[in-house]
Each structure stands twice: as C-alpha cells, then as structure tokens.
Amino acid sequence: MTQNRPWIPYALILPSVVFLCLLFVVPLVQTIWLAISENGVPSLANMRTMAGDLNFGRSLINTFLLTLAVVPIQIIMALTMGSMVSKMGGGRETILWIWTIPLGISDLAAGMVWLSILQNTGYLNSILFGMGIIERQTAWLTYQTPVALFIGIAIAEIWRGTAIVMIIIVAGLNQVPKEFKEAAEIFGASQWTRFTRITLPLIRPALQSALILRTVLAFEVFAVVYTLGGRNFPVLVGEAYNWQNQNQNYGVAAAYAVLIMVISLAATLVYLKAIKVDPERLP
C-alpha cells in the first residue's frame, strides 16, 4: 500500500514532529539563545554572572555529590531487589507493586513525606526520643548539620527514585533465560560468579538505560531538596529556579538550564561509551 504512496509514513509522523518542534526544539533554542546573549547580541555575560555567583560552586558540588551518592546506591539496591524478586515464585507481583509505590508519588509529595519524618517535630525525633536515645528535639535539616541534611536528602531521593531503576532492571533480568545461569551453575560458577560473569553482562542494555535515566534525573534534582533543605542545600536546578523567580533574571536562569543540559548530555555520552552494548553479544 505504501509502495505507490511513499509519503504516507512521513505524513503520519508529521504531527509528532511538529509537536516536538513546537514544544521542545523551539524552547530549547530560545533557552540557549537566552543564555548566551544580552539585549539581543551574543554575550557571555549570563555565564559570567552564573559562574561568579556565591552559590554556583556549592550548587555544582552538591548536585554532583548527590548524584554520586544516590545513583550507585540506587543501582545496587535495584539489582539486589530485582535478583531477589526473580527468585520468588508466588507474591512476586505484589512485592513489585509495593516497591513501585514511590513511583506514583510526585517528588514534591515525596519531599513532604520525608520532611514529616525528619523535621524537628517529625517521626524520627519522636521515635528516638521515645527510645531515650535523644534528650530533646534535634534538628537534622539545618545549615549547621550539613552531613545530616545531605544524608536526609540522599535517603529521600533514594526512596523516591529507586523504583524506576528497579523496573528497568527487572525487565532486563526477565530477558535473561534461566538456562544461562543454570549452565553456569552446572559448570561450577558460584552464585557471585554467575551474577558478575553471566547476569550483569547480559543485562547491559537495561543497566545502561537505568544509569542514563537515573543520572540525568539526579542532575535535575530539585523538589525533594527544596522541601527538605530549602536554600541550605543549593543545587543547580534550585539556583535556576531562584534566578528565574526571585531575581527575575531569565538570562542567568537559562545559563543554569543550559549547564544542566550539557552535564546530562555528557553523562549520557560517558555511559554510552563506557557500557558498550553490542547487539552481537546479547541473547
């Protein structure tokens, strides 16, 4: 049918292309232009303002630290959870369903959940006080307790974002026929060897997707941080938000946005290079 009307496939994808251009490419180009221009002429003024800002260094470091802490833990947890689930017979769906609940909660709501646990009058203090471990309410989320604040934010992020990694990993694990692991077992591979030499290499594509997705999302962390730490823990997106809303300086906000995008693209590129997926070496 499409042989004598070759334009049909193009016509069919046209709406989505137009849609993407209008809502993605155009704003993207506008943002980049906004970041690298001033009063309509090309300029690095916004970039300089951004880089010279007091919070710039801290927000950059915080964002990277958080990503470095959260992503590996999430991947390891997701691998562990996925492996555990794959060994289960009954109840598997229920457990998966429970584990994916945080996925259905917006990041702002997730921040609120952890705020209710970690704030001065929160559940954590109540429990610690009840058990007699602390004498009085302790503050965990102030600029005087940066480590506790960082750990609190990291835990909230891990809680919120592990489910998506796990879903991707479980999907990857499901793709690995159990005969591979059984064959390895017959030939003398220990459980750990089976995991590292058979399972991990075979779920490379899933691992790569999960890492890219999770890392990009980690660089965009904002709502959870903002809820728990306010401005005590500056991150890149938070700075963009402040420049946009409080300082009404769209140029610098755009510079932050572009920086985040560049970091994300770079991270994606690193993963694509580092975890090569060779279709020839997959089942």
Partner: protein, 350 residues
Amino acid sequence: MANIVIDNIKKSFGAFQALKGVSLTINDGEFVSLLGPSGCGKTTLLRIIAGLETATSGDIRIGERSVIGLPPKDRGLAMVFQNYAVFPHMTVFENVAFGLRMQKADEARVKKQVEKAAGLLHIEPYLDRYPNKLSGGQRQRVAVARALAVEPGVLLMDEPLSNLDALLRLEMRTELKTVLQEAGTTTIYVTHDQTEAMGLSDRIAVVHDGRIEQVGTPVEVYNHPATRFVGSFIGNPPMNFITMPVNNGQVAVGAQTFAVPAKGSEIVLGLRGETVERTSTGQGLDIQVRVAEPMGPHLLLTGSILGQPARVILPATEAVKNGEIVGLKLDASRLTWLSPESGVSYPVAA
C-alpha cells in the same frame, strides 16, 4: 567410576506428581536415552540428576556416592541444554573454556582442552567468534564442546537436537554418536524422538506419565515392548494391537496356530507392521486394505484386521489395490502377546 543409580525418585510439583518412583541403573560409559512423550517427566528427572531440581524422595548415586544435597558442580557432570544456553557475551573459545575457568585450570590446560573439544566437534574456525553469528547446528556443537571440555564423568543432554532442522539433526546424530563413543562418557540423553533414541542408545528407558515403562536395548524395546504404550510409542508405523479370541491356550490365525500364555478368553496381539509376509487370503491374518500407499522403500497398507484398525508394510515390489483383501503370514518369533486388561505384555518365549 561414573555409573549412575537412580533409586525410586519421586517428584511432586504441588499436588501434581511429575515422577512417580523412577529407578534406573546406568553403567559406566553407557549411553542411555530417556524416551517419552512431551510432559512425561524426562526433563524433571534429568534436572534432578543434575542437581538443578530437588527430588521429593529417593536417592541418586553417581559413582557409588549419593549426590542428593550436593550442588551441581560437585556431582562431576556436564550438561547440554535444549536451547544450547551458549553464553552470547563470550566468544566460542571462552564458552568452551568456561567449565575449566571455573575450575581455575591453568592457561595451558585450558588451551589444550578447548582445542581438543573444538577439534572433536569441528568448531576450530569459529573459536574467536561470538555465538550470535553461528547457525543452530554450530551453536549446538559449541554446547557439546563446552560439556566435553571438562571431561565430565557424566554427560546429561536434554533434547539437544530438537531445535535443529531434520537434515542437520540426522547429521549431528551421527556425529554425536562418534564423538561420544570416542570420549567414552556415561551419557543420559533425553528425547521424545524415537529414531534418535533408537539410533544413539546402548539402552533406552521409555518414560510414560512419570514412570519408566521399560528399559532395554533398542532392539529389545522395539521387538518386545513391555507395554502397549511402548509398542505404540516406538516404531513408525506404531505397533498394531489386535484383540483375538483364545481357545485352549491357543490362537488360530488362518492355517497358523500359536500357543499363548493367556488365562482368559481373549488376548491382544502386538504386531509390528513389517514382520508380515504376503500369503493367500485365509492362510494367515487377513487385512481389509483401505488405502495402499507406495512409500518408495516399501508399501504401506492401512486398513483393518478382524475389524480393528491396522497398518502393515509389504515389500515395494508387491502390488495391492485399495479395497483388496490381503493374507498375511505371521512370524511367531516376532509377535508380542499382551494382556487385554492391563496392556502389559507376557514374557517372551512363553
């Protein structure tokens, strides 16, 4: 020595009994097939021997040592899986070397063993390739080479040829036989294909519904099936079963009479289609031919004997028309007599 004793193995999956007490002894260096229809429990038994599945009760001894509770790697065996399970992310060399690597064999031994196994299975040209580039038959060879490279005492194979096309299957069958004879490995071979089992095995264990119905050499099992099931499962066309009247311990077939061990008034004759000779009607067993099909090497007659469906085979030189009645002379030494009630055959030479 790697003889295997399977001692009253039972296996239940919930309420479903997959194995209902299986016992079988396999001698050192012997090739034994587990032959049976799909779902009869062959794979389950093989997996229990391998240690990938736990038996509900019973014992497995390999080389006089009970292996129940031992992990697969401590049982001294290797396995070839139905879908090969050749690791896609390793080269053919590393696949074949896998077992040796797990044993932490030194590089010289790995190289020597891999080359030996690869030579046996003619896969040397592909050693640096990845399995995805290989055909089904080549992957099959890799799987067998991987198993032989560790020089296992026992080799387990689960329908290793079933994913190959017919021609390749025949070729691989011949090759497997040569290779395994050379290696002298005790082998348990699972298949639902009777020609494979007949061609390869020293002995065949016919499995049906979680039980072993008969164990014997291919010839024994073919000529003297222990049960009606075995007779109908093995052979193409399957064995004919014809219920006949018994008078004073004798069955009269035209001019022929046969003494039979039956106690009742009826007995079932198990007749292999190709054991008959043509004779004039009324002299032997008459078949009312419905369809005569020249098959090339022989002539296949489908019709009825004493009103019961039957298929027999005559030499290709015979000419038979559809609807004709043909007399068949029976060979007493090649008949099987079975109890009509239990379907179990009476002992030979009764």
